[in-house]
Symmetry: C2
Subunit: 301 residues, 2 copies
DNA sequence: TGCCATGATAGTGACTGTCTATCAGTCTAG
DNA sequence: CTAGACTGATAGACAGTCACTATCATGGCA
């Protein structure tokens, strides 16, 4: 059974006239006659009584026509709804973001995203890298902003911007005298984030530390880490976008002599169909952060 | 858009697997892939994200799938309902019957009809010939039992049985002496039904009267007419099936010397599609009344 | 009785749904 | 780490079906 034939049926019922119904359907009268007869044969029921001047629905047709109307209406709803869903830059876009990035990046990019794609409802989801990748693979996220490379053939990614690390020092720290700090110098009394934060591993790697730390205090958030540094518990490396928050906390920032940093990327499933949305969101973020690396390094003196 | 493709969509959503969905639909996997891709192109929306091991509905698909289910369910309802409507010997059958026949015929044929076609709901409608023909033409009746010929190319009819007229006499009437009565003898003090009853014209014609009657009393029903005859107001002709009722009223019945009578026919629109129901109902009635004419004539002595 | 209106039929061409055969990519196991 | 299995996509061939034009059959009307 074909939806087209059901539409023909409705047209004949409405017009009570094969010729006019055919015209309304944009087909020829013979086509309508043939198709309707086929439908009648398929259903095993005569749908219309053809009089010499009138075409009247049979009792069987009266019983069926309500369901026919519903089916056709649903089909039209599907078509209309699909049309409204057609724009990949519209609808929900679930974007994962790592915790050391979210609080500092989102304020910068929310407004531009909203401006550029009014119909795109960006829903941020803050979690650590491993969780984000898992949720990406289970279709619970559409894309994720990470500071690590992603591997596996099921995921793809693209770099958005480079974010330099900065040395974060307590106000009275001896290293604050210098214009730039060597990472190895920080290793002595460095504070790091809790397990699972990519920034933890990156900071340790930058300082040449393997992993085992004497310090037992590990901050669960970058905000806490900043407070700890400001209180004189030690030093740390922070990502450039957190510079403002660090300075607000009374922390002294110095560029690193090696210009170490991390690259923020957007990652997505290779099979994700709304590729355009990913590209668009990535482009807005990259555009907003263009030239940020140099500015951040220069500003932290 | 095709209902078939919507079914394919549901199958893929249910199985999450093209091969198994294709098997469930009874088609090959390539066919399913091609058709689903076409549907996606038609809708302008990607419906499934094809992973290496998984097939997952997209957000757009989730939005659409409810309507798809409804449309397909309605289509199935139409097919199922049509199947149950397929039997022409089932459902309502609106049967018009003239008033001089209905009270005497229906008690005879209702049980046989019900027995023969349990699913056929025969709805009798009692009215005069002209009204029945009108209602037949306006599709308010499916068939009609008449005692006249029908003409016009839009109507068809078939004789069911012959019904002899009988002379109906008051108990003390002089004609009651005879074995058979000549119609002309009745003309003197004949009583007839009101205008519009075919029996009125037929009775008058049988008696050789043109139309203008001296009598002003005209019965509106055969039952009333019988009461009038029984009360001695005059004589009349009655159809054979009313013999029982007439005798119950104390009326003397005599066969007519000319064996005049009427033929009861079933009439229907030539275009009426449930021809089988008409034939079946007609055959049951004719069968029930087979041999009635002779019996009635013989019994009225 | 001839003309108009209406739906049915015949014959034909184009499209489309389906098949089999095959490919490309990913995952798994020895 | 490579061979094989699994999954969906693609290619080419064929058949069924939908659509058209031309024409017919019938009934109503002037």
């Amino acid at each position: 059974m074909n939806l087209r034939d059901l539409r023909y049926l409705l047209a004949v019922a409405e017009h009570g006239h094969f010729g006019r119904a055919a015209e309304a359907c944009g087909i020829s009268q013979p086509t309508l006659s043939v198709q309707l007869r086929k439908l009648e044969e398929l259903l095993g029921v005569v749908l219309f009584e053809r009089g010499s001047k009138t075409v009247t629905p049979t009792a069987a047709c009266e019983r069926l026509i309500g369901h026919v109307r519903t089916a056709v209406a649903e089909a039209d709803t599907i078509l209309g709804l699909a049309r409204s869903l057609r724009d990949p830059l519209a609808g929900r876009f679930r974007l994962g973001i790592i915790p050391t990035l979210a609080p500092y990046l989102l304020p910068l990019v929310f407004a531009p995203l909203r401006e550029a794609f009014a119909a795109l409802e960006v829903e941020p989801w803050e979690d650590q890298t491993a969780v984000l990748l898992e949720r990406l693979r289970t279709h619970d996220l559409d894309a994720a902003l990470l500071a690590t490379d992603v591997d596996g053939p099921d995921l793809a990614s693209r770099p958005l911007f480079a974010e330099p690390f900065l040395a974060a020092l307590p106000p009275e720290h001896p290293l604050a005298e210098r214009q730039a700090v060597a990472e190895a110098d920080l290793a002595e009394d460095i504070l790091v984030l809790a397990d699972g934060h990519c920034l933890r591993d990156q900071a340790l790697a930058a300082c040449g530390r393997s992993g085992a730390l004497s310090r037992t205090m590990r901050a669960t958030s970058l905000s806490t880490l900043l407070n700890m540094v400001a209180a004189g518990y030690g030093t740390t490396l922070i990502p450039g976008l957190a510079a403002g928050a660090a300075q607000d906390a009374g922390i002294i920032l110095r560029p690193l002599s090696t210009r170490a940093g991390r690259t923020v990327r957007i990652a997505w499933r290779a099979s994700f169909p709304r590729r355009a949305a990913v590209e668009a969101v990535g482009e807005v973020i990259a555009g907003r952060l263009r030239g940020f690396a140099e500015g951040a390094a220069a500003g932290a003196i």
